[in-house]
Symmetry: C2
């Protein structure tokens, strides 16, 4: 594969080149990994999309939100990429983005690019691949990159480490269900978006929105927030209500963060984070070769039978690895 | 240092040898690490203590419980070692075991051995050292090893991975505070012990105990539990009430687990776990040398400034490490 050609194609905004590039970064074959690294290094670093992390448990209407919100952005002349992190997708096959037909309109738009979650059970692997895919989408000139994930704990942290702002999508709920959202995830959110503010659910949406607005006020003020943020707001993705307002809020927030230097500082810290994560992953990858796995099993069996001390066995294993 | 002599001293139950052995496993000096590994390998593997993990947030009366419970065991002719895992101890100096005077009676008993948490901020390091100290205490012929930790999340998991049974110590509370205990920690507990069932607090202790008994019944049945376990019970460490009953329950539980094979299976799985953890820690320890840290900083700065891609920089770093 000619990496320079591929890089040129991506920079020219060619969909096929972008798709091939993402396939390359998703591969775990060693030669592909080397090519992917060369590709990432060959891309210009001067293009920046707004990276929006989006979390929400199944049932909150995430696909509908992405479809309506994405279409609105396209109508404003913006190009939108949608990526996903779903550590469970390889098992359940249940990533919402596995089924593009659920974003019927958006998937047919030339200005949109939708890519399902890489299928890997290991969150670290999914995270690295998605982060690299974000880089490719930026180089391809997309204005907005949406990175969605299901609300399953760790994956939110991963998404927030590659996003400029983080949306938490919720459905209207009874007043006592507020504690269902983990505090750690609440603390990540820049904007809490209560979806389904339509029809019968409208009063419940109002109440849920007010509850979360109250809960957000109780959280410690973060330096990267202007007055009034983080905030809770209502939308109806179905009736396309509140989406422009949500976009306005996102722009207000990011404009402020750019002006105050938080944008650059956050991106710098994130890059450093991914560098350090990659170093750790590369080191631990030595344990994933067939030889290493077999040896770990053999030594582990001896340790489990009490024939060897865990510490001693670990040091013997490391010595073998260095040979 | 003569490792064989030291091993003999420990096996003979000499306190000074045991203390020196623990100091050795706690050291991070490279020559000490090699000696510690040799010491662990030199110890006989046929001595087994009952390892009891004990978790409880500050204020539940953990020191008082350990003191009263430990004294009761000693009166029954048993030898008791008390170890601790407190990942915060190096920062706050606040490990309860840092201050032996809070276990005044126990610390003066010949049949007791109390050792504060190794002072390390890194939980992985504290965990390895404490696990190795447990091994030394077993070789020294202690009948019971209590491993205590404060309720700060991850450290409970670490303690439960080196314990035969796990106690969660709680104080009486208002009925709506039940959710203060994380579900994950509840699920680890074999026995929930509500302390301070004395004086004015007795009715509240009853209520709390009943609440937790109810909550435990809602959890999925675990294969390693006989009927009636996990269970909640009340004690007063201050008035020395309920401690014998608690000890009886622990023995009922461990007798059953031994008879059904769960004891051996759990110990085997734990040994394998620590072996695999040690392998990972040894690999990642390569990042802790002064040279590696300096290089990580330099490359990390370049990545943060956008001069290099995180993935590429990570691979370059690994290549340097291998040279």
């Amino acid at each position: 594969m000619n990496i320079d050609e591929l890089a040129k194609g991506i920079v020219a905004g060619e969909r096929r080149a972008l798709a091939r590039g993402i396939t390359l970064v998703e591969s775990s074959r060693e030669d592909h990994r080397a090519q992917a690294t060369a590709l990432l290094a060959a891309l210009p670093k001067d293009r920046e999309a707004l990276r929006i992390g989006l979390s929400g448990t199944p049932g909150v209407g995430k696909s509908t939100f992405i479809e309506s919100f994405g279409m609105m952005l396209i109508q404003r002349g913006l190009r939108v990429a949608v990526l996903a992190i779903d550590p469970s997708s390889s098992r359940s096959g249940g990533s919402i983005l596995g089924d593009k037909t659920r974003m019927d309109l958006l998937s047919r738009e030339k200005a949109a690019f939708i890519r399902p979650s890489p299928s890997q059970t290991h969150l670290g692997g999914v995270a690295r691949r998605t982060r690299e895919a974000v880089t490719l989408c930026e180089a391809a000139g997309f204005d907005v990159v949406l990175i969605e994930t299901v609300g399953v704990g760790q994956s939110e942290t991963v998404v927030s480490e590659m996003s400029d702002l983080f949306l938490l999508l919720l459905a209207p709920a009874g007043g006592d269900e507020l504690q269902g959202v983990k505090r750690g995830i609440m603390e990540m959110a820049d904007i809490i978006v209560v979806n389904k503010a339509d029809g019968d659910l409208k009063p419940a949406a109002s109440r849920t929105c007010a509850d979360y607005a109250g809960a957000l006020r109780l959280l410690r003020k973060r330096p990267q927030d202007p007055d009034g943020f983080p905030k809770a707001m209502m939308v109806s993705a179905l009736e396309e209500n509140g989406l422009s307002e949500a976009w306005d809020e996102m722009q207000t927030l990011t404009d402020w963060r750019r002006a105050e230097g938080f944008w650059d500082r956050t991106r710098a810290a994130q890059a450093r984070y991914w560098f350090e994560q990659s170093v750790k992953q590369e080191l631990l990858a030595q344990l994933e070769t067939p030889t290493a796995k077999a040896e770990l099993k053999t030594l582990g069996d001896r340790v489990a039978r009490g024939q060897e001390d865990p510490t001693k066995a670990a040091q013997d294993f490391i010595k073998q690895l260095d040979r």
